[in-house]
Structures are given as structure tokens and as C-alpha cells.
């Protein structure tokens, strides 16, 4: 770990200018990912600007929905009554992530900006374009169980690890960003980028821009949202694939409105817009769901290590919608969520 200076400015604006003016500076939030990277040598900043003590730690009901301060801890957000009733899929995504201790520590903004757990990215002895641009991608021909299947490039096949980000993407969250020129709002779908030739770039934020809050619109759809995470271990593991889903039906039992986003498939949370379109107006039975998933996967690229993600995405999406519908026996309604035996 490189020697580094530490500062904890009193205001967000001071924090922004402290990082903005120093290419070697990084924001420090809960630290659950950055401190890991400092130890691994994956990140070698010379200066840390601690924003974790800034008073950006409240969840506030707004006219349009809810505004979540960037320093709200994952555990507090998951347990917040507003989220549990109005955006259950967000609570569930948070509760599916990490561990009780880490959720007590990790922040909302930091969760979105966590970096891939690709084993080669985290191992400084192997080439990785994300860590050292131009060095090559070791994962492309290497250990690929967690690799991307959508939107990847020859330069990078890493997946974004956040569960929260997937749920926020499905529910049309907006990220509030403070820069030296003031505040701007970035839709979740536009926050993260695909790797292309520059996998070292992961978001549309510029150096020194600070996420100060996340806003979620209140919608009938959001109230009927859930999150399914598949993983080898039953807990405390990153997703193989995950699905954030929300659904409303019309009187005929056909899909009135739907939101679907996938995790574990791409460099960013993947809004499954094609699958949504394929399901709108249709009865969400097993074959319709399978067809919609196939539609979304039309341009997917699978390798021997990731081939399993095709049936797994079908299964996980089916499971998510099944939970929202209280089973897939064709019963109309789908207003109550019934959790399976998990």
C-alpha cells in the first residue's frame, strides 16, 4: 500500500475540489472495496478524501419518491420502512449482497462504484486491461465463470458486481452528482459504461465528481418489485446472475407494465428492455418468459465457461416473475409477493 495522505473535509464541495485538483486522489466512503484494493495494489492513490462523515446520510420522502443520501449504509437503507414498502426490490437487492457487517459499513454511493471481482483484475500479477490499459485481458481465455455475456469487448469481459445497482436500474433511479460546476442528475442506466476499448473507464463520472444522493421515483411498479440472486453459496457470495423485476398485470392477466434488469451479465447493470417489450401485453407464462429472455440474449456471446448463464437467466427471470405472480400457474392477480423456500 502506497503511503497516502488522508483528509476528511467538512463539506461535499470541499471534498469535490480536493479530489478534482489531484489526479492521485480518491474519495473514501465505507472503504469495503477501496481498502481491499489498496492492499492488493489494484488501486494506488496518494491521497484519500474521506466523505463517509459528510451528513449525506438520510432517506427522505420527496414528492416524486425518495431521496437517499450517498452515505446511507446498505443495512440502513435495506431496513428503511419507506424502501421496504415502496421499493421492496431495492431492499431485497441490498439484503442479497455481502454480509451483515459489510452492509453496516458500505455506503449507497460506494456500492454503485464498486469494481468488478474478476479474479484477474484483482491479481496484479496478471494482465488486465481494466487495471493496466493495454496489458491484455486474461479473463477472455481464462477462468470465465463470472464473465460477461452481453456488451463485452475483446478488451474486457468483466461484470459489474453490485446488486443494488441492478435493482436501481430496473426501477429508473437517478443519481445525483456533485462536481466543481455544481450538481447534475444521471439516470442509472447512463451511470455505468460498457467496456469497449476502454474498460478502465467504468462510469460517466469525471474525476472529482461525487455521488451525493440517489433518487427513486415512486411508482405502482416499484411497489411490486423483487430481486432474485443466484449464487453457488447460499449467502455471502457474488451473483452468478441476478434479476431485478417488477410487474403489474391488466385485468386479463396480461403484463401491463414490467421492469427487468440483470446482474452478472455485463460490465454494467443490464436493463433487459427487449425482454420487457416481448412480455408487455402477454400473459407471463413459462414459455413467454423463456422467449423474452431469448429475445434479450439475441446478441449475447457465450463461451464454454458462461454457457450455463443462458438457462440460468431463463430460470432466474422465471423465478423472479413467478415470485411476483405468486406462482406460474396462470392465476391472474399478482399483487402479492410470495417468497419461495429460500
Amino acid at each position: 500500500m502506497r503511503p497516502l495522505t488522508y483528509a476528511a473535509p467538512a463539506t461535499a464541495a470541499e471534498a469535490v475540489s480536493a479530489v478534482r485538483g489531484d489526479p492521485q486522489a480518491r474519495f473514501l466512503g465505507g472503504g469495503t472495496n477501496l481498502v481491499d484494493h489498496l492492499k492488493l495494489g489494484v488501486s494506488t492513490p496518494g491521497r484519500l478524501v474521506d466523505i463517509s462523515r459528510l451528513p449525506l446520510d438520510t432517506v427522505e420522502q420527496t414528492e416524486a419518491g425518495v431521496r437517499i443520501g450517498t452515505n446511507v449504509r446498505n443495512s440502513d437503507l435495506a431496513a428503511h420502512p419507506l424502501l421496504r414498502s415502496g421499493w421492496p426490490g431495492i431492499s431485497r437487492a441490498l439484503l442479497a449482497g455481502a454480509s451483515g457487517q459489510i452492509r453496516n459499513q458500505a455506503t449507497t454511493g460506494g456500492n454503485l462504484l464498486q469494481r468488478t471481482r474478476c479474479v484477474y483484475f484483482q491479481d496484479v500479477t496478471t494482465p488486465c486491461n481494466k487495471r493496466e490499459p493495454g496489458s491484455g485481458c486474461s479473463a477472455l481465455e481464462g477462468y470465465g465463470r463470472y464473465n460477461a455475456v452481453l456488451g463485452a469487448s475483446e478488451a474486457c469481459v468483466a461484470t459489474h458486481p453490485s446488486d443494488l445497482a441492478v435493482a436501481l436500474t430496473a426501477l429508473d433511479a437517478v443519481v445525483v452528482v456533485l462536481g466543481s460546476d455544481g450538481e447534475r442528475r444521471v439516470p442509472m442506466a447512463d451511470l455505468h459504461t460498457l467496456p469497449g476499448h476502454h474498460p478502465e473507464i467504468e462510469t460517466t463520472l469525471s474525476h472529482g465528481e461525487l455521488i451525493t444522493a440517489v433518487e427513486l421515483p415512486a411508482t405502482p411498479l416499484a411497489r411490486r418489485s423483487t430481486y432474485v440472486k443466484t449464487r453457488d453459496r447460499a449467502s455471502y457470495a457474488f451473483a452468478l446472475v441476478s434479476v431485478a423485476a417488477a410487474l403489474t398485470l391488466d385485468d386479463d392477466g396480461a403484463v401491463a407494465d414490467i421492469a427487468l434488469a440483470w446482474g452478472g451479465v455485463a460490465h454494467k447493470p443490464w436493463r433487459a428492455a427487449r425482454a420487457e417489450a416481448a412480455l408487455r401485453g402477454r400473459r407471463p407464462d413459462e414459455s413467454a418468459i423463456a422467449a423474452a429472455v431469448e429475445e434479450e440474449l439475441r446478441e449475447a456471446a457465450f463461451g464454454p465457461d458462461t454457457e450455463y448463464k443462458r438457462p440460468l437467466l431463463r430460470g432466474a427471470t422465471t423465478e423472479a416473475l413467478s415470485r411476483l405472480l405468486g406462482g406460474l400457474d396462470g392465476k391472474p392477480g399478482g399483487t402479492s409477493e410470495q417468497e419461495g423456500a429460500r
Binding site: R233, L240, G315
Partner: protein, 695 residues
Amino acid sequence: MTANSVRAVAMGTAMERVDGREKVTGRATYAMENDAELDRPPLHGWMVTSRTAKGRVLRVDASDALDHPGVVTVLDHTTAPRLASTEDRELAVLQDDRIGFRGQIVALVLAETPESAREGARLVRVHEQAEPFSATLEGAETYRPDSSSVGSETDTEQGEVDAALAAAPVRIDHTYTTPHEHNNPLEPHAATALWRDGTLTMWDSTQGVHRVAATLAPMLGIEPERLRVRAPYVGGGFGSKGPPHGPEVAVALAAMWAEGRPVKLAVTRQQMFPLTGYRTQTVSDLRIGAEPDGRIIALEHAVTVQTSAIKEFVEHAAVPARMMYAGEHRRTSHRVASLDVPVPSWMRAPGEMPGMHALEVAMDELAVAVGVDPVELRVRNEPEVDPGSGNPFSNRRLVDCLYRGAELFGWADRPVAPRATLDGDWWVGTGVASATYPANFFPGNAARVTALERGRYAVAIGAVDIGTGARTALLQIAADALGVGVAEVDLAIGDTDLPFATVAGGSSGTGSWGTAITQAAQQFRADHGEAPDPGVQTTSTAQSYPDTEHLAMHSYGAVFTEARVHRWTGEVRVPRMLGVYSVGRVINPTTARSQFLGGLVMGLSAALFEESVRDPRFGHFVTQDLATYHVASHADIGDLRVEWLDDVDERATPMGSRGIGEIGIVGTSAAVVNAAYHATGVRVRNLPATSDAFL
């Protein structure tokens, strides 16, 4: 003398762990936690490891590292103290420029703080010359080793195996694989070392203090008495802390360099993957020829494993097939590929765990093929004598374990056909497997009994409690052997200053150490009577215990599991596991139960999660932490139940006990995989059984 059997009073009684208070408060001192005994602040070591799998170190450029504040020195192969012996290339650390695997120690940074040591290691530039290397078992050339790493025969053959297989009415012929697995004790390998006045003192995280001393002293060119190894508390080992590994040599060399100043060295979790041993992957080609009623006619178990080119370790996975089931024609073999990879070593039930996995899945396949219940199939193949040696069994109660387990588990209610039960979105099935482990007795253990004031006694042996409960069980043994209450005995362990003890491994510890304690106590009584003067003592060494010759001595067990496989996602969960064991007398039911439960948990973990993925392009394990090498978490565990048969095996030890530390992992992964087959109809032949297989 030889020990006589002992009347059980404390033995067999549930007793809380005597070191519980220290452990639940965190005050128990592990290898890196003995600063209070040091009179100078320690130096902190950090290892630099190779980035080529085979080649030479051309130059170690430590200039940037030495410029870093707090870095004291960087030792490499040109500057480290010389070893007297470099024969063991795993242990010949920093002695020459050869690189035998990726992740080998090529430099050691010593610094005033852990932060400076870590950064110093990052700043060392190692110029390495790479040579072509091989790091994949698939397609590799193999050879026939002289013996396995437990000294068992490489190959055995009885009868006309090929002809019998060809003529058998029913044949099972499949390949089963288990992956590389890492022990991953929660306490990383670590040591504190101090070289002063020609004596080296090490606080080491080891399963055997005397073994470390006996191995390292000659290498360091000192008399064994000049090497004191202490291990008051050890945070697990599961075999990896059985023999010393490279980091222990590194810290010893550093201590010699730093004469008078202690050095602390912790292996990072990532560094444990190349440096502290692992279970090799195994490939089992298993062929069974049987009668239509399931009775085995012929059995062949051909095992292929890999080892490191710098040191041979042959996992003896075909050995259990020699004694487990009846059958006239039998062939077992081991072949090994020598690769440019980290050195494999001991991991809980080496040989038995992967070998029984293959055999017990194959037995399940045979049960399906002949339409015989899997419990009944095993009963039908019960041998009268050890089919390998022809020796009688001392106490073989596999059938009792199977029947008792079936009763407790509710096995009879099981539908015969697979994929018969869908509960909600979960396919449900049950599976069974047998377990076995040899009754190992290690000779040479010594114990000392000293009379204290007021009818109390001090008992000392250099044994190590790595979590097994030895500190508690040995106290119970000592009390019974002396005929006093446990409260009258002070037990000292974990120090080479105490009488010689063999390693905590091979499920041999309690039996071998306990025999020495029993013998010493009985000799003490013979020497000093029932009312000894305070201060008198007896030390006695136990070389053997009677009746072990010409007997096949093993423990047995039966494992039953329920598996649920999610119909949409293929995720596998195991809500129920039961193990029933025959292990002789259980000394302490409290700690023994935990040993069995721990074995079941590790077996479940192996069944579903554990796999160290080695990238053949680089030669190292790329899943090298606890986020990418999954071990079972609490949420993965369902209802666990363990029971043991009422047994006393006085032919095994004077306490009537056999070992219990390893049998819990044996067969367990097979029982899980067999249950998953019963749930889904999908047969998994390659571990781990992840969701992919069921989609």
C-alpha cells in the same frame, strides 16, 4: 512397558472445552499474538513470490523497497542465511535461483511495521527468466510412483480383473473427478521467530511442534534442542499445518539474519494458495462388474493425480477400494503427473476423501443399475475379511451404521425412482454413502507425569490442539489413567520443551498421545505408587500397542443427506445431513460431536463449492481468496445430526478409542451428489456439483 486398558470414568463423559473462555474472548494467543513474551518489538516480514512457473531468478532489485521508510532489509537467494540441507526443494527457501512454481518465495522484506513490509514487498522488482512449463494434468504424461504418500502400495491386483469385468452381467464404468482443494484454516499460516544465543524459538501455527523442529533443525544446521517450537493455540489446519512449509523456513532464516530481534511473518490468504499445500485434483476411473443382484464380482479403481516437479506427493485415492467392499477380482492403481506447480500436501482424509467420493458415487450408480436400494447394496457387498490383505477386521460395523442411519433418517420412506418429488419449486431427493478411515497409531510419543502437592498431577506432552479438543480429551484420558478427577490434573501441551509428540494428523492424535499418557501414568503408578511424593515424575515412551498386527483396523460410518435442487435456477441446498459412526470409544462426546459435524460441513462444502482453479497459462491458482474459493457459509448448513455406535475398541488403544478427526468428511460429498441425483435424475461425476449441472 506397554499400556493396559483403562477404566473409563471421565472418558465418555461430555465435558466443555477447557480453553473455551480464552477462545470466546479472543484471549487465546495464536502464532502472531505472543508479543507479550517478546522483549523487543518484532520486525514484520512480507514475502515476495515468483511470477513465473519455472525458471530462474536473475536479479532481485530491492532499491525502491529499501528506500521505503521502515524497510530494514530484503533477503533474497544471494543474501539469505545458508541452509545446511537443500534436499527438500519446497523448504529450500531463498537458497538458489531456481523457480519451481509460480508463487514460490523469491524474496522476503523485513520492516518495522506491517504497512512498510507490505509496501516494501510491492516495491521489490524481481527479474525472472521464464522457461517452458507445464501446469495442467489434462493430457500430461504420468508415471508410476514407488508408493503413495502414506507409504501404501502403488498398485494392487487380485484375480482376473479384465476377464471378470468383461463377463459381468452388470457393469459400471465411469470417470469421477475431484478438483484441487485448499485447506484454508481460518488462521493463516504464521510464525513468530527469535534467534538468540544460538537458539531459535518459534511460535508456529502448526499441527506438530516436534515435527517442525525435527524437520527444520537439521536444515538450519542446529541441534534439535536448539530449536524450540511452541503452538499454544492453532487456528485450524486440516492437514496443511501438518508438515512445515516454505514460510516457516523463511521466518527462521529471517530470525537468524535479525539475530536477537524477533520476526513475525504471516502468510497472506492469497499466498496460502501456492505456499501451504493443497489437495491435488483426482481423476478416478472406476469400473465395477456385478451380479444382477448387485454383488460385486470385479472392481477396478485407477487413480490419476498430479504432483509438483520439485517434491512428490501422491494422494492415495485408490486405497479405500482395497478394503471397502467384497469382490473376488480387484485392481487398484495410482499414476502421477509431475508438473511445474505448487506442492500438494495433506488435506483432511487425504486419499479417503476423494477416493471414497468416487467409489460411493459409483456404488450409487450400481444401485440404480441393478434396482437395489443403496443401503441394501452396500450390505450385500460386506466382506468377511479385508479383501485386500486377507486379515480379519478388528471391529467392522459398517452395516450397523447403515441400518441405524437409515432408521434415524427415515430412509424407508424414500421413493425408489429419481426426480419423483417436487416440493414447491424444489426437487427433493435423498442419498447415502459409506465412510471409512484407518485406525492410525503413530509410535514414539512420550508423556511425563509429575506429582504435585495435595494429590494433584502435572501431565505433559508436546501434542497440539488445533481445535480438535485434544486439550480437553487428553485431560480426561490422563485423569482416568491416573485414577483421579480431571480437576486434579494440569495438562501442558504445544511445546517442544515437553515430551515428544507426533503430529495432529491422520486422526491419530488422541489415540497415539493418549496411549503415551496412559502408559506414562501406569508406569508412574508402578514407579511411585498411589501416594507419591510431590516432585517425583515418570516419563515414558509408547512405541506400540498390542493387537494391531494382522488385523484390519478401520473406523466406519454412514452418511445420509437430503438435497433440494431449484427447478428454475439449479441451485442446490442441503437441508438435512446425518452421520452415524463406529469409531471405538468416544472420549469426549462434546468435542467429538463437533469433529464429526465439522467433517460433514467440510464434506458438504467440497460437494457444492470448493474448487481451486489453476490457470494453466500462468501456473497459479486464480481463485486465491475466500471470496472466489468458496467454503460453506452458515446459510448453507441445514439440520445436522451425528450419532455414534456404542463401541469400545481396546485392540486399537488402551482407551478403547479410534480416531475421529477425518471420517466425517469421507463419503459426505458422495452422499450429497447421490441425493442430488435422486432429486433430479442428473448424475454429477465431477465435483463441485454447482447449479450448472442441473439447468
